[in-house]
Amino acid sequence: MKRRKALATIVWGTGALAALPYCTTNPYAIFDHLPFSLEEMEAIIALSKDMVPEYTDSFPTPEERAIFLLRMLNDLLTPQEQQTFAEGVKAFLKENPSFFKLSISEKESILMAGLAAENSALLTIKRFSLRHLMTTQAYMENIQQYEFIPGRYDGCVAVN
């Protein structure tokens, strides 16, 4: 009995070790529809934070920005939209190979130009990132005065 248990432990442990490199190399592997490398995913996440800072102290979120963003890309976009998005990201990174080494103001300048040119990948990243921030409890309740249970309607209130 003890030998059987020891063998089972070895088997399970070996299996777990075999899986470990895969888990540690791609923490976003669950988003299996996305046609990106890990490097590209990390670039998308970084672009998101450059465009829409997280400010998690003031606006804590139920999940990390990375998880939310990749989930939205994975689940809300159709395969064609994901492909178009992926091409847009690759093109941006190719045009700006040193983007992540630039200063904040240089990066923002490039991003604003890309958004003005309606780069759809940048627009998509920004849209989902804004949604993540603007639907936090703190933002909705403190900035938008959102009330889950208003219990009333005042039809003519003076603007403060």
């Binding site: 923002e108 219990g151 003076a158």
Partner: protein, 564 residues
């Protein structure tokens, strides 16, 4: 409850019409079987999203690509979102055949679409019941407003309707709870319209929400509406009317109701010797086994097109074309509401006012075209909604810290967004029809429904008139940046399909008599939208709830006298 599956009454469909029939029948001591093809949804217990705040939803309310792919039709409905999609049927599990594009939006569960409905309720007037006879379309309704007035009151008192007594002949007042406060721009537009037009009115939108407490609502276990505006999820307060919070528990507490979900009604059983219907054949939705249930009276309220389907599928030697279908008209004269036209604008006249809180209704413009006389090149007319809300702008143009400055300082612009959408009456015609497919069947062995329904020239002219008239009204109010839009919604997307089993005086031109009995099989009643001879402009639910209550009480009296 039953011996040998036998009841006093069977009701097919646990939505608003069927729910009302079941309530009336059970209250009057009839052992009643209520069949629902979908699952049970118990009030409170089965509202999985009702307490979720936006940040608690995985996609923050959005639909996934898979949701849209799997549900190409349902996803066109405004209420099919992350928080309520579980109350809609899955399109691929419930196929039908579109001869022309038709969005058949369905909620197969106890409560039906009463869980997700928009709760707008208006009575019909004699301008509506007399419409077909006066204007020469369809057939004359066999009832008038006076036949339904007391039943409207009964329904309103039980479900709770918030409204204002406006004193309009075109839209009779009801038994109302107090209205919500109106906002300054709603009041302003109402006043402008009143000053410029004698026959047009912008009034409070009557809605099935509790704004006052009364003993009946306390007895129902319902509380006041809290203005959350997420009614489609089901309400933990019972603040709006749905069947689950009100009619089902009420009927159950009589001890006379046997509720059977997962029961797909295949057909009605007709006994040729007795010359009456004796029961229904039911296919268990999960096991696919067939069971027969029997009763003296049967109410068919499976929602308009399913009611048509069941009757068409109820063939016998006596009725080879469907139960009661001697006229050959069963499935014809399907109609709906034309919701295609919208108008939007900006109002700058109340820059220092905003609103606070929320309310589940906006304003309403009752029909004003062709009411007292024919005055246009199209028949009948349209009602419209009117909504106004202050515009608050949040600057999201920048990136980085500059973006945050904008996000942290949303500003009221001093402008209001205003808009209206039309609700046009469509003219029933024989070419708008449904029929059973000869070869294709669903997973329960029931023929698929062919749907051939479309707009016509009358609808197009009506929409153009809506654009013109409302543009004029908006201009008189000084609204700016007026834009009109044809949203090209498919028929059916209004979710107000009606007809196919129309009421009328003559069995040669109608299927149902003035009491909603099939002319040729009087122990079968049809009281949902299928019975409607015309559509008017008003939301239909209040009317077929009143019709159901009236018909159920007729059945009760007939049964007591042994006449059914």
């Amino acid at each position: 409850m039953s011996q040998n599956n036998t009841y006093d009454a069977i009701v097919v469909g646990a939505g608003m019409a069927g729910g009302w029939a079941a309530k009336e029948l059970t209250e009057n001591g009839l052992k009643t079987l209520l069949l629902e093809r979908g699952r049970n949804v118990e009030h409170l217990k089965d509202y999985p999203t009702t307490h979720l705040r936006p940040w608690e939803m995985k996609y923050r309310g959005a639909l996934t690509a898979k949701d849209k792919l799997d549900n190409p039709i349902a996803s066109r409905c405004y209420a099919f979102r992350e928080d309520a999609k579980h109350f809609f049927v899955k399109d691929d599990e419930h196929p039908y055949i579109q001869q022309k594009r038709f969005d058949w939006l369905r909620g197969y569960q106890v409560g039906g679409k009463s869980i997700m409905w928009a709760r707008q309720v208006q009575r019909w007037s004699d301008f509506d019941f007399e419409g077909p006879a006066r204007d020469g379309f369809a057939v004359d309704w066999p009832i008038r407003y006076k036949d339904l007035a007391d039943w409207y009151t009964k329904v309103e008192q039980f479900i709770g309707v918030s409204g204002n007594r406006d004193g309009l002949d075109v839209l009779p007042d009801g038994d109302f709870l107090r209205p919500w406060e109106t906002n300054c721009v709603e009041d302003y537009f109402s006043q402008v319209v009143r000053e410029h037009y004698k026959d047009r009115h912008v009034i409070y939108g009557r809605c099935a929400h509790l704004t006052e407490s009364k003993p009946i609502f306390v007895q129902q276990g319902r509380g006041l509406c809290m203005s959350r505006n997420i009614c489609q999820r089901g309400c933990p307060f019972g603040g709006y009317f749905n069947v689950n919070s009100t009619l089902i528990p009420w009927a159950l507490q009589t001890g006379n109701l046997d509720l059977k979900p997962h029961s797909v009604v295949h057909s009605i059983i007709y006994d040729e010797q007795l010359q009456k219907a004796t029961g229904v054949r039911v296919v268990d939705a999960q096991t696919k086994e067939t069971t027969e249930y029997f009763a003296k009276v049967i109410f068919v309220a499976a929602a308009t097109l399913n009611t048509n389907l069941i009757l068409l599928n109820s063939v016998s030697n006596r009725f080879p074309n469907g139960l009661g279908n001697d006229s050959g008209l069963l499935g014809q004269y399907i109609a709906f509401h034309n919701y295609r036209g919208t108008i939007n604008a900006v109002h700058e006249g109340h820059p220092n006012q905003i609103t606070a809180g929320g309310k589940p209704t906006s304003h309403y413009v009752p029909r004003f075209r062709n009411v007292y006389r024919q005055e246009t090149d199209f028949l009948r007319g349209y009602a419209a909604g009117f909504g106004a809300s202050p515009i608050r702008h949040t600057s999201t143009e920048r990136v980085g810290d500059a973006l945050m400055d904008g996000l942290l300082n949303p500003q009221y612009t001093g402008q209001w967004r205003v808009g209206s959408h039309m609700m046009g009456e469509t003219i029933p015609k024989a070419s708008n029809r449904v029929w059973l497919d000869e070869t294709q069947r669903d997973q329960w062995g029931i023929p698929l429904l062919n749907i051939d329904v479309d707009y016509d020239d009358n609808d197009e002219k009506m929409m153009q008139d809506f654009f013109e008239q409302f543009t004029e009204m908006y201009e008189k109010a000084g609204f700016k940046d007026i834009t009109v839009n044809d949203n090209n919604r498919n028929p059916g997307n209004d979710i107000h399909e009606m007809g196919g089993v129309r009421m009328g005086r003559d069995p040669q031109t109608s299927l149902l008599n003035e009491w909603n009995q099939l002319h040729h099989c009087p122990n079968v009643y049809v009281t949902d939208g299928a019975c409607m001879t015309s559509t008017s402009t008003q939301n239909p639910s209040l009317t077929f709830m009143a019709i159901s209550a009236r018909a159920a009480n007729h059945a009760i009296e007939k049964l007591k006298k042994g006449e059914l």
